[in-house]
Symmetry: C2
Subunit: 335 residues, 2 copies
DNA sequence: TTGTACGCGTTATCAC
DNA sequence: GTGATAACGCGTACAA
């Protein structure tokens, strides 16, 4: 049986209140007694029971994190940040994996609430009305990662997708490309597909380049769909000189599609991605892409949660972190 | 303020014990009252406070999972299994990320204990004396993943590395390869490097093939080291016809090394891996490798933990799961 | 079948 | 500066 505060009190010949005071140094205790208690704690190896503490403090020191997949590099890296910084603030992470299924998400959200978590960091592929309903109903601190929450009152953290897409498109244009395909994820449900398209379109228009709608493909972030999308371009004989995929996975789908059809990257077609997953620097050719500060996204998220828990006002509701264009070998100049 | 069991009792005109009985159906309750209580619970949206429950039951319904990295496909996939099956048994996962640092690992192990977790699933790159000490001292259920625990009394789950290595080597030999390099991870600290070597050696010897020690490299599972190891082979002019890396990441290091030096895979050199990470089927050429049932490893681990928690005897202490040789495009026959 | 009362390990509010 | 004691929300002997 674990040693409790009572045991310590008895052994040190003091009251439990005194023991409580020295472990929390909530109130002054005479040096002599303090040392005596400390010694007993040392001897017995006593550690306060966090469950009992939670009960009276009404605090669990738990933060719920719900993600659509754990075995995903993007999410894993974000989790690293959440976990590490969370521990710094003495918070533990309760992990929930939803596979992106709405039912699971809703179930976990409610589960976490009943587990008395003090805050929730939420990631999903699709933000829906049902989510918003939950967030509005509960007054528990929430932070969303990489979702567009500008239309409603939820804190979010992400990069500036429009700017990033603009920069990447501009980069391709500067390399002499005029026919540039855009392979993107979903555009509905508050994802950043629209922003990315805007950035792409802005760069194209600024340079008087025509946007060929046949080269704009929605592939739901799936490698296979990107593969097929490029196959279609090949069949339709409208293969561009450059392909901009808004996720590295889709970029690899595109590259594989090209390779499998006998094309060379970047000699025949340039391909660039978005995310800079690990694979991006392992694959040959190494992928030119946009790097997001994944670890920092996690870190900023949990910091925002902690601030909210403490009741501190946070300066901004939408955190925008810096990105970076990583130039590697999958894009060539055709000027 | 959240609604408590007391509120429900009052509103339903019964005692709290009765309410407790209906939510746990621990003892018979008359149908009429049961329905009345259920209705009140429904109306008020009452959910039992798990913290209070934990306190009295001395159970947290929490399982600690400590891993050396989250942003790792292997681990992520195992976590999926742990998480999903855990939830099935009504257990939550407390996630700890150690970066493989001993201090962090020990700290988290103790932290988890004080958090009253009911069991711990432990993954580490290196199993050390300090770990074993902890495990021996505490009587909390422990399961280790992919570590060789045959020498001491800790439950573990993994595949049969020796057999898998044997099969893969045999596969290469059957393809006509005679000079086969082995790029492996660490061999000390109860990792499976030794078993893999044994499997490799057995296959070589059975076929009267000489083992060239210059072709056995320890690369600590690191892509970069494997890259260099192959560079060395090239410089020393001892390039074999096949390379067996005991981790896909190292296989990719080897392949990149080859490609960057002008060799073709598998035309000039065949390369096979171990793990079947996602990348293995994305990379070109697609990698021939050994697939481990990652999800199942997680699932079996947590099932073992749950059994231990319940005090049920588990049949075996070392769980060995089946593996599979996945034949793809990175190996060619040279017969 | 139902209700009363106690205890789980802590913190916080009082007195002293 | 220190010590009783009442909460916190729940499960469960025990009594009725």
């Amino acid at each position: 049986m674990a040693v409790t505060i009572k045991d310590v009190a008895k052994k040190a010949n003091v009251s439990i209140s005194t023991v409580s005071r020295v472990i929390n140094d909530s109130k002054p205790v005479s040096d002599e007694i303090k040392h005596r208690v400390l010694k007993v704690i040392e001897e017995t190896g006593y550690t306060p029971n966090p469950v009992a503490r939670s009960l009276v403090m009404k605090k669990s020191q738990l933060i719920g994190v719900v993600v659509p997949s754990i075995s995903n590099f993007f999410i894993g890296e974000v989790l690293n940040g959440i976990e590490e910084i969370g521990k710094m603030y003495n918070y533990d992470i309760l992990l929930c994996n939803t596979y992106g299924e709405l039912n699971q998400e809703l179930r976990y959200l409610n589960l976490l609430k009943s587990k008395q978590v003090e805050g929730i960091i939420f990631m999903t592929w699709e933000l829906k009305e049902e989510h918003k309903e939950f967030f509005n109903k509960e007054d528990i601190p929430i932070v969303m990662i990489n979702r567009d929450t500008s239309e409603f009152n939820i804190t979010s953290v992400s990069i500036d997708h429009q700017k990033a897409a603009y920069e990447m498109t501009k980069y391709l244009i500067d390399k002499g490309h005029k026919k540039i395909a855009l392979i993107r994820g979903r555009i509905e449900n508050y994802v950043f597909g629209i922003d990315q398209y805007k950035g792409y379109a802005k760069a194209m228009e600024e340079n008087n380049l025509e946007i060929d709608q046949r080269l704009i493909k929605n592939c739901e972030f799936k490698l296979e769909l990107a593969y097929e999308a490029v196959q279609e371009m090949i069949e339709d004989d409208i293969l561009p000189t450059a392909i901009f995929a808004t996720a590295d996975s889709m970029a690899f789908g595109a590259i594989n599609s090209l390779i499998d059809s006998g094309y060379k990257v970047p000699e025949d077609v340039s391909v660039v991605g978005f995310h800079d997953i690990k694979l991006a620097s392992i694959y040959r050719p190494k992928l030119t892409t946009i790097r997001q500060p994944l670890y920092d996204i996690g870190a900023v998220s949990i910091r925002a949660i902690v601030k909210k828990i403490k009741g501190e006002e946070i300066e901004e509701n939408i955190f925008v972190l810096p990105h970076e264009l990583i130039e590697r070998d999958s894009c060539k100049s055709i000027k």
